[in-house]
Structure formats: structure tokens, C-alpha cells
Symmetry: C2
């Protein structure tokens, strides 16, 4: 192709008329503010009608439709059908609420479009700053290295990757795991999140290499069983490398005895990783931090900010106590990535030397903006509030003999079910499953489901800054009404 | 803590006065539009002054500072110091430009704050739709599975993880890689991106398990050498599982003979992964697609949308030809993640069964919005334009005997250096490094550096929709001026 002929009509993605697009931006701001301000009056969730689903089957647009048309379609087909986690009565999975300020920060990072891989520009310094803030807020050692990631799954992967490369005693990075007779093993409780299993699988250890230890009545790892398992494995030629402690299990919010695990790991020369996806966050509160004692001794710590710090999706964080371990696992050299002492490629050591990703967005900005806007004190108060609200819900449940609490409430997760006069386990499962679905389908509330000791549980995970006590009053009232209706008055 | 006492003063992150925050949102829209509209008049990059760096050392804010104050600080300390990739004369690394429409889409996804892990809500259908669009646009088989990810590094990791779990002939997911005498080996050229090395290391194969094969004079993998290496490895007890083809090497944009690699992989029963971080994108253009013939036969394909599709950071994509392989690698079951046939947890199979991450943001929205806004035709024209512009720059370089082209220009990457009358390699390196740094420090242009056959190269990677021919005129003029100045007239 000849350059001179082709380049006659150079074009770009910038609008021909900036004013028109700017006007659309203002309309969006108005609409999005109204959306968030009134979200509590909307159904928490609603099914997408078939005609809307059809729109999602349309082929790739060949011709430009324009930003105004795209926005109309968004407004009609997408905006009314959110996940629901922005609503005051959403408590499914552990999905945080986001915030209006966080939304604005997304606009700003979309404008700058900075790359967080490295170099000498603001996004890099902002990320370094918020990682420092998070260490301060959680009481984790200041000398630790850190990295913002997409979420807890990646943060667990980072921690376990460093464990796998640091502990075995040979160069895993270059030599890999084959030709070794002593398979590496990792330990955690049976209540551990699936992302830990996934990380162990992806790292090549095999899920058989993950030993899931029984829990006590409070769903905390049995440290005595852990000790036996490690001893037995060593005796049988396995090579234990790591223990994963839970700071807030996903099922019930249980917190392992992290001090006992830290002691055990020191004695046995094992890596101590803590999965604190949401449950690490209470450490920002002086009142709640004692629950997490021992977490500050972890060799690596994983947690999310889009859960219990209410930041917009997606942002989590991995911290590693000794930066050299962290760096040795991920750093590399490449001609086209040579950093310089001056210019664009100068600046601090690249974040891409501390994680899987090279290209990375400027997700640090929403963290920075949110903490500036609200201050750590506000987050402390809100986390305490969510814990107190969970207690409040627990009291409502305990106070009604038609309801049954299925697990203790150490933090913000409440597992319960409708019993009414039902006796049969199978029927109870059926009835509670139907209660849950109708709660969602009616748009009244969105808890999710789990299984606690083979019992089907309605599960409320409260990482919602919009929730008020009245919302739990409504939940309980509706569960009782639906339970009675579905079970035919039983 | 008693629920009734603590809950007296319930609060949230919603503003006390919505109007104040809404007003700030409007101000931001105006400012960000002005910023983008005039970005070409700003320096492409500028060093952050020491007093601004000091602000990034401040400790975590305890008290709320408010959104207005946070924005003032952003405006003063962050906005003036972007990476630079939004500027018409930024060609460093392979960092795309973003767009004003993409920025607005970030605002919208920040408002909805949807989680892309799974469930029955719009974000899931939008992601399914854009993956379908991308397959259509690139000519990749419609039955393939896909996943949006943070970028090419993760997309390569996904493809190689599926290769590692699919090819060996035992259950790698459960059994892992230990206790196997035949180490797995993966093949690629010496020009392959560092993220492939990193993926191989993280997957437990060890970088020794990655065999980097020599390239020809056009920086394409020597398929004859590959054939010999695989045969020799099989003979010596290794277990070849995968070949990685380059669709656009990062150094020079070279495209491996993908048809030959596809044929070879079929003959040898090897997984064929293609790293097309930026170089897969020209397949959207009927004129350029022939360059990538064979890519459609890849078992897995990795590419970015924040590079040559100009979408805001971060978004890439992994495609896998046979969904079952993809799913078998990442899927899991967990009580709290049971999906339902109705309600919030209904809908199509979860994306978290196809990748490492569970929590995932709504990055599909900016892809959807951008393709609706501009249409595929616009992207085709822009990719062709960037290729033609690279040819134009090549002609400028070839037309001046003081400059030297260091590699062919098959796509959009131009590697060159100033020669003037210099003879000595060490001096040339020094002079060109200084040219590069002064280009950046003066704010005129931002190419980056690489090494081509031990020669230091100024490298221009053009994935910029704001670039015009005149920008390359300016670049060449400045390189000549600086080269003469630095080399003292040589």
C-alpha cells in the first residue's frame, strides 16, 4: 500500500464536534447521579426480558452508530439490569456497593488512560502511595511490597506464587516442578475459598497438593489436625511449603486462629499466606483489629477493596512481607522494557516486576480518591456498622422461633433458614431455595445461598454501605411471609 | 458490641448533598473534555517536580477531605503527569490512546458497578456479546470460548494454562507436575514477549521448559529449527506440548509464518497458541488479514483491546477454540457459588469458570460502547492508517542518509537510529539513548527503546489514533537536530 495515497484522509476517534459529545457527558452525569440517588426505590434485581436479550445477539456493528445512539441503547437495555450490588438490600456473594465518588474517579482514570505497568508518571506514584496507605490502615509492616490487582483471586495467586518459588529450595522459576520426587503441599481449612484451590492448580501443584484440614464448630481450622497432617506428610516424603489462613471465610466469616498459624509456620518453616478477601478489612478499625491478631505476621496477604472498602470493581491488593521474595518471583528483563534513569521509562521499579500483568490500568486512582474523599475514619465506622448490622439481623433471627441461625456471626456474614414447623431436611431445602429465588425475583432483597453442614442456607454477606437496619426488618418480614406461603402455612 | 447502641447513627458513603457532588461531576466532564481536546498542545511527557512527589508521600488521610478537595489535588498533582499515551506523538511500548467515548463508558460502568463473574444480569450478556463480536471481527471460529481479561499477559497465561492442562495426558489439574520424569516443553521464537516466559514460569514449567528458537532475517521463527528442536527434545525424553506463534513481535512487529506453525502443530499434536497482543488486530481489516493467515487455526489466541483497538486501560481477550478445554482448566464447584436456574444466580455459565479471576469488573461495557459508537469500519480504517503511517515514517528514514532503519516494517513498529557520521557502535548507542531521553524530556515525542541485533534502537510503535503524518515529520526533524547537537555535528 502506498503511504501517500492512503494517508490522504487521516482520521481518528476524536469527535468531529467536541461539544456534542461533551453534552452527552453532562447528560450521563445527570442520569447516573439520579440512578444512584434513587437506586433504593428500584427492584434490587430483575430478570432481563426476552426482547432485551435478543439485542445482545446482534452481530458486530459495521457502521458507526454514534455515541448518542450507543447511550440510548445502554439506557434501555443495560442500565436497568445491574448485578444489584448498588442496592441497599443486596447481600449476595460478597459484592461491594461502589460509591458515587468512586464512579467519578473512573471517569478521571478513563480520561488519563494511564498505564500502571511502570515508568515515571503520576499513576505509578499514586499506586505506591495507596499501597503504603493500605499497609498503614491494616497494620501490616511498612517494608512490605504490594501490588493492586483485579481481586482476591489474583491476590491469592500472587501470594501462593511467591510461596511456591521461595520455599522449595531449588530455583522453581527456571527449573519448574517436574523431575522432583517430593511433591509440594499447601494447607488450608475445608472452608477456604475456591480461588485458593484454583491458584494451587494453576501453579502446577495439583489440587491433590492442597490439603484441606477440618474445622471446629466455629468453622476455624483445627490447628492440631494441621500439625498432624504436616507431620504425616513430611514422614511420607511430601514437602510442605505453605499454610493459608482465612481472615473471614466466605461461608460464614470465620477467622482462623491466625496467631497460632503464624507460630506454627515459624516453627515449621512454612510460608504463611492469609486470604483476607473481605475479612482483612476490619483490621482498619481499632475495635475490630483484635479479631485478626496474627494477620500482620503473614508472609503474604490478599484482600479486596471492591468488597468491604466499597470501591468500584475491580480492585484488590496483594502484600508480601519481604519484597525480595516478591520480586524474585515475577521480575524479568527484556530489551524493549529496559528502564532508564531519566525520562518516561525512569521512576521506581516497575509494578510488572511484582505480578503477572504488564499492562495495567490506573485502578489506584479510585482508591486514592475514595480515601481522600471519605478518610479512613469513615471506613472504620462503616465496617463497624456492617458488623453491628449483622448482629442486629442475628438478633432478629434468634428472636423468632420460625427462623434458625446456621452459623455463628463473627463478622458480617449471616447464614440462616426458615424452619416454620417443617421437620424434614429435604423439604426445608426446597422451601428455603424457593424463598431465596422469590426474594430475588420480587426485587425485594438479594441474599445468596450456601450450604452449611449439608444444610441449605440463606446467606447474607453485608459489605453494603447503603444498608440500614430497616432493610433487615424488611428481609426478615419477607422471609417469614414467603416461608409460610411456600410451605402452606407450616 | 451491642447492636442497638452502635446503630444509632447509621451512615453511608452517599453524599449528604447530592447536588454538590453532581456539580463536581459536571465540572469534571468539562475539564476532562478540555483536557482531551487540547492534549496535543501539552508536552507528551513531563517529569514530576519534587514538591509534587512529596505529596505522594503523605500518610493515609484519617479525616474526610471531601470530593472537591480530592479533585483539586488530582487536578494539581496527577492530571498534568499522565503516562503520555493519550498524546498524538506518543509511540512508546505499545500503549494505546483511549478515547473520549471510552472515558464516558468508564463513568457508566463505575455507576452500575456490576460484577462480571457470572449471574443473570446485563454485564454478563454484554461480555458474551462483545466476545462474539471479536470472534467475528478477527475471523476466529464462532464456537470458540472467550474471556475478557486485564491484558495480553493474562490472555497468554490463560491460553498456556489450557495448553498445559490439555496436552500432557494426565490430570494436571489434580495431580500437578511433580513426580513426572518427562518435563513439558513449550516452543516460541527468541523474539517472543516476556509475558510468555512469565506464564511458563508461573505455570510451573520453568523457564528452562521454554525453548526459544532462532529467527530469520525478518525476525520470524525458523520453522526448520523448531522442527529439529521438537524432534531432539522428544528423543531426549522431553514432552513437547505447545508452540507459541507471534502475531506481531513486540520488537519489530514481525509475524511468524502462522500457517506453517499450524500445520506443524497438527502434525505433531501440539497446542498452537498465538500471542497477538497488538498484531492480531489487523485481521479486522480485509486488506491486512492475509498477513495473519493461519491465526484462525490457533487453539488459543491472546490479544489486547487497549492497544490497537484504542480502548481505555485495561482490557484484553483470550479465545480458546474448544470451549471444553477452556472450561476443564478453570471450572470448579463451590457451595456458595452454586448457580441456579432462576433468579440472580441464573443465566449462562459463569465467566469465572473460564479464567483465574472470580470478581471481575464490567470492562465489557467500554468495548461494547466503543464498537457501537465507531463501528468496526472505523477501526479497520484506523489500523490501516497506522500501518500506512509506519510506512511513511520508514520512507522518511530511508530517505535520509543520517538515519538508519534497523528492522523491516511489516506492521506498525519502526526501529531506527541516528547515524550521522558516527562509526563506533558504543558512541551510536550513547548518542541515540540521549536523543531518546531528550525527545521525552522536551515533551516533543515519546518513542521508547529496544535492542535489535545488539544495536540500540529508537522504537516507534504506532497504535495511536491521534497521530498524523506531520507528527512523524516533527519526530524526524527533532531526531536529526538532537543527533547533530549531541554528537557535536557528526
Amino acid at each position: 500500500m502506498s503511504a501517500t495515497t492512503t494517508l490522504k484522509l487521516e482520521q481518528g476517534l476524536d469527535p468531529k464536534n467536541w461539544e456534542t459529545l461533551r453534552k452527552l457527558g453532562h447528560r450521563m452525569v445527570d442520569d447516573m447521579f439520579s440512578y444512584l440517588e434513587n437506586i433504593g426505590e428500584q427492584p434490587v434485581w430483575q430478570a432481563i426480558p426476552p426482547e432485551v436479550k435478543e439485542a445482545f445477539a446482534e452481530p458486530v456493528p459495521q457502521e458507526p452508530e454514534g455515541a448518542n445512539s450507543a447511550y440510548e441503547q445502554f439506557h434501555r437495555n443495560i442500565l436497568p439490569y445491574p448485578t444489584g450490588n448498588i442496592h441497599p438490600r443486596f447481600w449476595a456473594w460478597v459484592s461491594g456497593t461502589g460509591s458515587a465518588g468512586g464512579m467519578l474517579a473512573e471517569l478521571l482514570s478513563g480520561a488519563m488512560n494511564s498505564s500502571g505497568h511502570g515508568g515515571d508518571h503520576a499513576a505509578v506514584y499514586v499506586e505506591r502511595q495507596v499501597i503504603s496507605w493500605l499497609k498503614q490502615a491494616l497494620g501490616y509492616p511498612a517494608e512490605a511490597s504490594g501490588l493492586l490487582v483485579g481481586g482476591g483471586s489474583m491476590a491469592n495467586f500472587v501470594g501462593l506464587a511467591v510461596a511456591r518459588n521461595t520455599k522449595p529450595g531449588w530455583n522453581v522459576k527456571t527449573e519448574g516442578l517436574a523431575n522432583r520426587e517430593n511433591p509440594l503441599s499447601v494447607y488450608c481449612s475445608t472452608e477456604t475459598h475456591s480461588s485458593v484451590v484454583k491458584a494451587v492448580e494453576l501453579l502446577g501443584l495439583g489440587s491433590n497438593g492442597l490439603r484441606q484440614i477440618e474445622v471446629d464448630g466455629n468453622f476455624r481450622i483445627r490447628v492440631d489436625h494441621l500439625r498432624q497432617a504436616v507431620a504425616a506428610d513430611r514422614a511420607s516424603g511430601k514437602r510442605p511449603i505453605c499454610v493459608v489462613g482465612n481472615a473471614g471465610t466466605v461461608n460464614s466469616g470465620a477467622i482462623d486462629d491466625l496467631t497460632a498459624l503464624a507460630d506454627f509456620c515459624r516453627e515449621e518453616n512454612l510460608w504463611f499466606h492469609v486470604d483476607g478477601a473481605f475479612g482483612a478489612i476490619p483490621a482498619i478499625s481499632p475495635r475490630l483489629r483484635p479479631l485478626l491478631r496474627g494477620m500482620e505476621r503473614a508472609d503474604s496477604l490478599a484482600f479486596d477493596l471492591h468488597k468491604w472498602m466499597y470501591m468500584p470493581y475491580d480492585v484488590g491488593c496483594a502484600l508480601v512481607r519481604f519484597p525480595q521474595h516478591h520480586r524474585d518471583t515475577f521480575a524479568y528483563g527484556a530489551a524493549y522494557l529496559n528502564s532508564q534513569t531519566r525520562g518516561l521509562a525512569g521512576g521506581p521499579e516497575w509494578f510488572s516486576h511484582y505480578g503477572l500483568e504488564l499492562s495495567r490500568g490506573f485502578r489506584a486512582l479510585k482508591v486514592w480518591f475514595s480515601l481522600k474523599e471519605h478518610g479512613l475514619q469513615t471506613y472504620q465506622a462503616l465496617v463497624e456498622q456492617n458488623v453491628a448490622q449483622a448482629q442486629y439481623l442475628g438478633e432478629l433471627i434468634a428472636g423468632d422461633r420460625r427462623l434458625e441461625l446456621l452459623a455463628p456471626i463473627p463478622l458480617n456474614v449471616v447464614c440462616f433458614r426458615y424452619r416454620g414447623n417443617l421437620e424434614d431436611e429435604a423439604t426445608m431445602k426446597q422451601v428455603n431455595q424457593e424463598i431465596l429465588l422469590r426474594l430475588q425475583e420480587s426485587g425485594v432483597a438479594a441474599p445468596s445461598a450456601t450450604v452449611i453442614g449439608e444444610r441449605f442456607a440463606i446467606r447474607v454477606a453485608n459489605v453494603n454501605h447503603r444498608t440500614r437496619r430497616e432493610d433487615f426488618d424488611i428481609l426478615v418480614r419477607e422471609v417469614l411471609r414467603l416461608g409460610s406461603e411456600i410451605s402452606g402455612g407450616h
